[in-house]
Symmetry: none
Amino acid sequence: MTGVLVIEDDDRIRLSLVLALEDEGYAARGAATAEDGLRQQRHDPAETVLVDLMLPGIDGFECIRQLRRDDDVPIVVVSARDDTHDIVAALEAGADDYLVKPVAVKELSARLRALRRRGRAMADPVPSLVFGDLVIRPEAGEVTVRGRPVALTRTEFRLLCELAEHPGRVLSRQQLLRRVWEYEVGDDRLVDVHVGRLRQKIEEDSSAPRHLVTVRGLGYKLQR
Amino acid sequence: MTGVLVIEDDDRIRLSLVLALEDEGYAARGAATAEDGLRQQRHDPAETVLVDLMLPGIDGFECIRQLRRDDDVPIVVVSARDDTHDIVAALEAGADDYLVKPVAVKELSARLRALRRRGRAMADPVPSLVFGDLVIRPEAGEVTVRGRPVALTRTEFRLLCELAEHPGRVLSRQQLLRRVWEYEVGDDRLVDVHVGRLRQKIEEDSSAPRHLVTVRGLGYKLQR
DNA sequence: CGGGTATGTGACGGTTTCATGACAAGGTGC
DNA sequence: GCACCTTGTCATGAAACCGTCACATACCCG
């Protein structure tokens, strides 16, 4: 259940949308007909669906209704028609957003992100960042390791959140000092000490860390 | 927590939006500045917020960020600017939708319905105010602990309701001062004292609270 | 293998944060 | 006016936290 499904009969437009979305970091794939799109969505559901309104066979409105009947998947209409009547009809049929062609890819991408964010915000009142058996709930000020809550200090918590916001990416000690401590300059060792204390609390064996790992000479990163 | 709040400095546009939304069956009200809108939203939150981008004082982008900081309320931007750059910036700041003026009321209404439908589709069906043996009935102004009614003062009650509206989420002392006392700035200690008094009344053992817990360095939260 | 650098970690004093009891000012009902 | 309740401020002490340092260990490179 990942990626974006583009249902659009015009080969050129479909292909360029898929490529543009891939450029933006989405896993995208296409369907040339509503029938094919619905089949794909049943078989291997995408996280979001883009639908054109004018399709051969089953048209866009009907396609939206059928998607909606099975699923809560976010649906975005991309259509050449900018008639209020069409927009209202598509939204009433179950679409979540409506863009008029030609679409700016940056806008489309931002709208897809907004839609995902909204989904998460509603589905889980306290969103979680999951790193294997390590679960971080920033809003709840709560961290659990294999289901057990761990008591972190404020600095440890902010440090962990900062690392968690960039999964797998190495952050230098200076970056962490700036973002967590809001120091413009500072002693790298300070970060070491707090990383150490954090490890004692969240790692099974702090001498062989699995999530909060050191990248010698560069900094620290948090991984699954 | 109902209705639509329209934040728009142009009196004519604001009024016509409010009237049009009321025609569509929404309870709508207006705010001429971001400051007033934010205050209203804190004091008596609307279900959805409409924001203009060009506002005197705090501008639309900053207004969106501040709304988002406190809440998950759906935000729709209504702006004269149809620049992709503005649209992306507004959505990134936390908006859910973006319409370009002049707006077709039917379209706006349909988009508001779509947003609400999405919210309902994902949200917890019962936003419960039951926290284990602690039950809060805001309408009745009644709180019971293990079946026994507890007499709370007005401040204690409002504090408890504010915490209960965000189950499991940490609220900072400053957030609580803004929302419960409507102080823009204030002394954190004041919150401590009232939390303490509230604990004496609703917790079995106030030195080992089970529901109203302190998150050191961050604030307080109410949990099951 | 040896010197140099980077990193892990325990200990310690100064500081911050929090819970709580006391109290005075204001409000309310009688 | 009086008794009572509510509210905000303050002082106090206990506990938690932070940053620094010293020293141990691990790693790299010649």
